[in-house]
């Protein structure tokens, strides 16, 4: 990892100094229309999001539950793509120089673009890092080097099934923050076990000082607050993607997503 700070590091440092938890929000780029995504990103920030995970749609999103799968399908109907995601981040940066943005997606669109072009594209667009769901530590080496060389962060997933030995191996490569998957399952599943989250965060904490954010199964302010009690933040996705999917137009999506994020922010800070 490089010593130079990027937006992700600065944001977590600020939150720590204020004694607050991070609210990480996920939407799919192009879901609800490519022309509405940047507005929606600004709304996330205005309502209290600290960091945006912009989902890159993929035809075969293996780790997603039905809600986010549908979000990917809708985004692809709107002709969204990795290239267009990068353009959206660049447009977002025109009005927001501070909020960290990472691209979350699958390996094949990156493979198609080429890892180096992808890393250059992130840098050029003003993105801060990437999380590639199906690129585990064993296969992540080359992309990791390209991201590090550009002062971009590589966010890894840790799960209840990750062994201590693997936690050590993954946190060696990880930067920015670590995303702890709270359950065995796909995104949007409903069986959150807080005792298990607490034990596993303690286990991970022994290996790294990186901020720990918890995702999968977070539905509202109360669950966000509960899972982040022993970590540094909560990641929320399915409820937001569901709200976008149920909205008639861009304005309605902004209202609904804004209300959900505001509620979470308020409870998280209480």
């Amino acid at each position: 990892m490089t010593e130079e700070q990027n937006r992700i590091d600065r944001r977590f440092a600020k939150l720590r100094s204020e004694g607050r938890k991070a609210l990480v929000t996920y939407i799919v780029a192009g879901d609800g229309g490519l022309e509405n995504t940047v507005d929606l990103m600004h709304q996330l920030v205005a309502s209290g999001s600290d960091l945006i995970e912009l989902g890159v749609p993929f035809s075969d999103p293996m780790a997603e539950g039905p809600v986010i799968q549908k979000g990917h399908e809708r985004a692809l109907e709107h002709k969204s793509s990795l290239r267009k995601c990068l353009a959206l981040v660049k447009e977002f940066r025109g009005k927001d120089a501070d909020t960290p943005v990472i691209l979350m997606g699958y390996a094949n669109p990156i493979e198609k673009m080429g890892a180096e072009a992808f890393a250059d594209g992130l840098k050029e667009a003003g993105a801060d890092g990437a999380l590639t769901v199906d690129l585990p530590a064993e296969e992540a080496g080359p992309l990791n080097e390209l991201l590090n060389a550009r002062n971009l962060r590589n966010i890894f997933l840790l799960t209840p099934t990750t062994s201590d030995q693997r936690i050590a191996q993954i946190t060696e490569l990880a930067s920015g923050f670590v995303y702890y998957v709270s359950l065995k399952g796909v995104t949007g599943a409903g069986h959150l076990d807080l005792d298990s989250v607490r034990e596993n965060l303690a286990r991970i904490r022994r290996h790294t000082d990186l901020p720990l954010c918890v995702g999968f199964g977070i539905k509202d302010g109360a669950s966000a607050k509960a899972v982040s009690a022993d970590g540094d933040g909560a990641v929320v996705g399915s409820v937001l993607v569901s709200a976008v999917g149920e909205s008639a137009d861009g304005a309605a999506a902004k209202d609904r997503v804004g209300a959900l994020v505001s509620e979470m922010r308020t409870v998280l800070d209480s």
Partner: protein
């Protein structure tokens, strides 16, 4: 694409991380890594365990009915007018296809793992039936994911699975075919990883699946090699097998890879024709990419989205292919060709009328290319065509094409 200069030790592949050259590997979300590690560790231990091998051989002999015959198809040979065509009769196995070789093996692994539930993905339904069959035999719970489109195309197999006690779950996402069934099976596995064993049906998926599915199906090639020497006193001049994911093809090819004189042809589904783009032939017309846990040749668009495939045969309707085939293509050891829908249908009819054997539409692709290839060869030469499955399941599809209601 250059040919290697020194002989390759094919048995040394994949490497410890599951790579065949630049292909293969393990591209899955973190939750599954520990389950894959556990499976790999167990398989490495058991594959050299004489007791495990004896149990596998026993099941192949007494439950599957092996060895399957190597049959000289004389009237088919006369039809082609060239090399002798020998059919490796995997269609005579219990459940009617080669798929059972692998499910018998993986069921033994499931038994050793202590997990009480198995899941599978299926396209044509042959792997689903073969999985439901071994699950019934061992008293395991079984769920089979099948694309909603394939459920319609292959209703006899759907009913067979249900009779065998399996739950058949139609998959409505994406293109509603095999690839989507595999996505959904992976999602099930991620959720139920503690008590569920995933029986993958082809030589794709994350390491160690391409290796273990190959190993279990290699009985096809070991038998064919021995039978060739016994029945015509030499090795065959060429092997032909259809390739969807590629499990029957790798099963036939693998034991012959070091026999340099043996040419090998993998036949992909040409659909409406490779030149039309409407096909399922990634080794003919695809690019390397990452899907379903491995790096291999894929059919995708300029943004890396997987595109829909087209084939009259549900079992070949898959946008990827096993990573070992991708590697064998690039090093030039196996030649990958395509047979179009109409060529496969013609071969289906020709074999049925000439030999009294109704082949699966998947296997008909191999027969189609075998006929073409034989015509270019001498009568003293020998071709082994893998007849990977029987065609009873396909008679409704063929009847519909003929405009006949069965």
């Amino acid at each position: 694409m250059s040919k290697p200069t020194s002989p390759i030790d094919y048995g040394a592949y994949p490497d410890a991380r599951g790579h065949f050259g630049e292909f293969g590997g393990r591209f899955v979300s973190e939750t599954l890594i520990s389950a894959l590690d556990e499976l790999q560790e167990m398989y490495q231990r058991l594959k050299n365990d004489p007791e495990f091998q004896a149990a596998f051989d026993y099941d192949l002999a007494h439950y599957v009915g092996r060895p399957s015959p190597l049959y000289l198809a004389e009237r088919l040979t006369a039809e082609a007018g060239g090399a002798k065509i020998w059919l490796k009769r995997e269609d005579l196995n219990h459940t009617g296809a080669h798929k059972v070789n692998n499910t018998v093996g993986q069921a033994l692994l499931a038994k050793h793992s202590g997990k009480r539930r198995v899941i599978a993905e299926t396209g044509a339904g042959q792997h689903g039936v073969a999985t439901a069959t071994v699950a019934a035999r061992l008293g395991l719970k079984c769920a089979v994911y099948m694309g909603a489109e394939d459920v319609k195309r292959q209703s006899p197999n759907v009913y067979r699975m249900k009779l065998l006690g399996a739950e058949v779950i139609p998959v409505e996402s994406g293109s509603k075919t095999l690839k989507d069934a595999m996505n959904e099976a992976m999602r099930d596995w991620v959720t139920n990883v503690d008590d569920t064993f995933y029986i993958i049906g082809t030589v794709a998926g994350p390491h160690p699946y391409p290796q273990l599915v190959r190993d279990f199906n290699s009985v096809i090639g070991r038998e064919a090699r021995r039978q060739s020497l016994e029945q015509f006193g030499q090795l065959p001049d060429a092997l032909v097998a259809c390739v969807g994911g590629g499990s029957n093809a790798i099963g036939l090819f693998h034991p012959f890879l070091s026999d340099e004189s043996v040419k090998m042809y993998g036949v992909e589904a040409g659909g409406d024709g490779v030149e039309t783009g409407r096909h399922a032939a990634p080794l003919n017309d695809g690019v390397p990419g990452i899907l379903h846990g491995n790096r291999t040749y894929l059919m995708e668009d300029d943004d890396g989205q997987i595109i829909e495939t087209h084939s009259v045969s549900a079992g070949l309707d898959y946008p990827g292919v096993g990573p070992e085939h991708a590697w064998l293509r690039d090093i030039g050891r196996v030649e990958y060709v395509a047979a179009n829908d109409d060529e496969a249908l013609n071969a289906f009819r020709t074999l049925t009328r000439a030999e009294g054997i109704i082949p699966a539409l998947e296997s008909s692709h191999a027969v189609a290319y075998g006929l073409k290839l034989a015509a270019t060869m001498r009568p003293d030469q020998n071709i082994v065509v893998n007849l990977s499955g029987r065609g009873d399941k396909d008679i409704f599809t063929v009847a519909a094409i003929d405009g006949i209601e069965v």
